[in-house]
Symmetry: C2
Subunit: 257 residues, 2 copies
DNA sequence: GTGAACGATTCCACTGAGTGAAAGGGCCGG
DNA sequence: CCGGCCCTTTCACTCAGTGGAATCGTTCAC
């Protein structure tokens, strides 16, 4: 910045972004001092930046003097290609699937070695689940994750296999067992989980294909699979087919995520 | 900034935000030069800022060298209180309403003298509508808008009445007529529109209350009202009651928007 | 094949915007 | 009334930011 800096080499733009970066899912409302601590910047510096961010609408100040992400950033976030691609196309199909099953329905893509949840519909009566729109979970213990993992490049699969953390006593942590499951998932065209991520929650998931490539996964979460497993799989597959058809068979473009 | 500036008095942070501000619904992917034009900044300056934004994840560069809003800003936008308040609470009720009617369902709040759409569910079979999540429309010609207008402070109503633009031949542009409608909406507890915003689209809308205050509105869009008007009103009211009950009767906090 | 046109990059002499310790307010709770 | 906590403002100090110009890389017309 300009002279007198305690940490030279960091630009003003970077500091501004650090301030925004202080906010996350577990820190949605921060005081000036908290932002300064989390961004590792002096309070007066943060104060100046925060005022500019507030003026522009990136942050909003609540009556209790805490800052929260502002409406303008919300607007901006909605412009991300994530939002306009698969998510919008899939939305009606998710709704149909929800209407047919009244279970929590998920749309997810792979982001590195994690599942990124793009959309979720959950009825009041549904099983409580941890996933939220925008949240990331491990690939190996969720239905959509296993589908995506089964259709990932070897490289990704190897990396993911290296860290099979147990989320519940039912989580599969043996690479051999998981590998056998993945093969089966590719064969039968769907994945299941039984309390592997959350106790009391089971799921089935199917791939969404653009042409030959699996670009996303669609999942249904229920208290137990039992006798309606076939029904759920059928319903999910119909919905996934529909999304895939609407996506078109064209070249998968990175902008469509 | 530092010396040599063509437009002194503008901070680096402000310029960085100008760069982000260059993106909007009709400009989702911009080249460097386009950003520079829209932000009214020299190309090299924008280039430097854009690279920092890309490094941080606020922007993503597509293969065709255009920039789009990045995933990290999407994440950040989801943290806005807009997202976590009414929207999440209402989501299951919207889904129930959708499942019951298979019509496009809206959740909206008033933002100044406009309707801000917080959420939308639309089945494939539904009427095409212009609203999208995050979009804003005039208050006087949409169902949710009329509900919100009917329960607005006099000041807002006066301002909105001053500019009744005709969107279709059916749009109500006479303040007297609209005022009478608003009174009726307050009495009967719901609003209707018939092709006032889009030809071929009618709607009914009901208020969502937190305690006594109307904090949002819930709307259903259908091709025509006809004989199932009563059914739609009933279904929407049940859903709106549910949302209101779940919101709780506490002090309406601005953070909940 | 050539060169005009356009956008993305890089350079670098020039300078005023940014910095942050310190001091000043404002608001509790004790 | 005072001590603690957080927000806000001040201001001497200084180097980060600026942007015109030059360069590089494509694409496209002829």
């Amino acid at each position: 910045m300009a002279g007198n800096t305690s940490r030279p080499g960091q630009s003003v733009a970077a500091r501004t972004l650090e301030v925004l970066g202080a906010f996350d899912r577990t820190h949605r409302a921060l005081t000036l001092t908290e932002i300064a601590e989390r961004a590792e910047l002096p309070v007066p510096t943060v104060h100046r930046l925060v005022r500019e961010l507030e003026t522009w609408g990136a942050l909003t100040r609540r009556p209790d003097t805490r800052y929260v992400i502002g409406r303008r950033l919300w607007d901006l976030g909605l412009l991300a290609p994530i939002q306009s691609g698969i998510r919008e196309i899939a939305a009606p199909f998710l709704q149909d699937l929800y209407a047919a099953t009244f279970a929590t329905v998920h749309l997810a893509v792979r982001d590195g070695v994690e599942v990124l949840y793009l959309d979720r519909l959950s009825g009041r009566a549904s099983v409580p689940v941890v996933s939220r729109v925008g949240s990331r979970l491990p690939l190996h213990c969720t239905g959509v994750g296993k589908v995506l993992l089964a259709h990932s490049p070897d490289e990704v699969r190897r990396e993911a296999m290296g860290d099979l953390r147990a989320m519940t006593p039912h989580t599969i942590v043996a690479p051999g067992v998981l590998d056998r499951q993945l093969r089966q998932i590719r064969q039968q065209g769907y994945a299941t989980t039984t309390e592997e991520m959350t106790l009391g929650a089971c799921s089935i998931a199917v791939p969404i294909r653009r042409g030959d490539e699996v670009v996303a996964a669609l999942g249904v979460v229920v208290p137990s699979l039992g006798r309606n497993r076939a029904t759920l799989v059928a319903a999910a597959q119909v919905a996934a087919q529909g999304v895939g058809r609407t996506l078109g068979g064209g070249m998968p473009s990175p902008a469509m995520v």
